[in-house]
Symmetry: C2
Subunit: 117 residues, 2 copies
Amino acid sequence: MRPIIHPAITDVTVEGILYALSDPVRVEIFMSMAAADCAKPCSAYGEVKNRKLPKSSLSQHIKVLREAGLIRSQRQGVEIRNTTRCTELADKFGDLISGIVNAYQRQNSAKRKSKRA
Amino acid sequence: MRPIIHPAITDVTVEGILYALSDPVRVEIFMSMAAADCAKPCSAYGEVKNRKLPKSSLSQHIKVLREAGLIRSQRQGVEIRNTTRCTELADKFGDLISGIVNAYQRQNSAKRKSKRA
DNA sequence: TACAATAGTTCCAGAATATTGAACTATTGG
DNA sequence: CCAATAGTTCAATATTCTGGAACTATTGTA
């Protein structure tokens, strides 16, 4: 079987990151992964906004995140565990990622608030 | 003629911004606009990376930036002058935009450096 | 070794988006 | 009113995305 490929941090680009995070499903996955306390399998991210993703779509989305350099995936037995590359990314891109995540979080909490009202 | 439509700042979303800026041509346009000292017509952004954009494409890209809430366009005689909405955006999204722009700028200056070498 | 169960990936056809030349609209100067 | 300039819209083509079905990979069990 071929190994899972990750770009070197030097090959990670801003446009790649923005593209990957410009999809609402993918940011959700990424943010949820960033919030996780340990590496979780792909299937842990299979539900987004109360909608179950087809597994081929989930696989594609995770691949996009991986190839953009945002996450790292490694096989652990029958499943593939995923983590963000936030530390490396922060070294290279400063507060780009955290800025995006924070903006999303603020937006989401504002949305939840207005829904309750 | 119908007026040019801009979203209210309250309707501007993070995903919309990321989507708009995930295109290399559009970030170039946006960054160049942000760097401009005064409002310039669309045609001022018609050349990106030494390649002349077809004007229908330029028009589309500017429309995407406008509808994402990133820029403001207003007719001034025969041309349409464009400015960024950076101030409003910073109020709403903190350092999201500046983080993106800074990351891009660092990346571009690194690229230029390695080309020279 | 074989097979079943689980987790993901790949393939590919249909759906959705993006690109761009050509035709069109808007504004102004003469 | 006409010509020139600046952009927009239309529509055909091209590219990218989505997701079901078939496939591969790993492990546990017999």
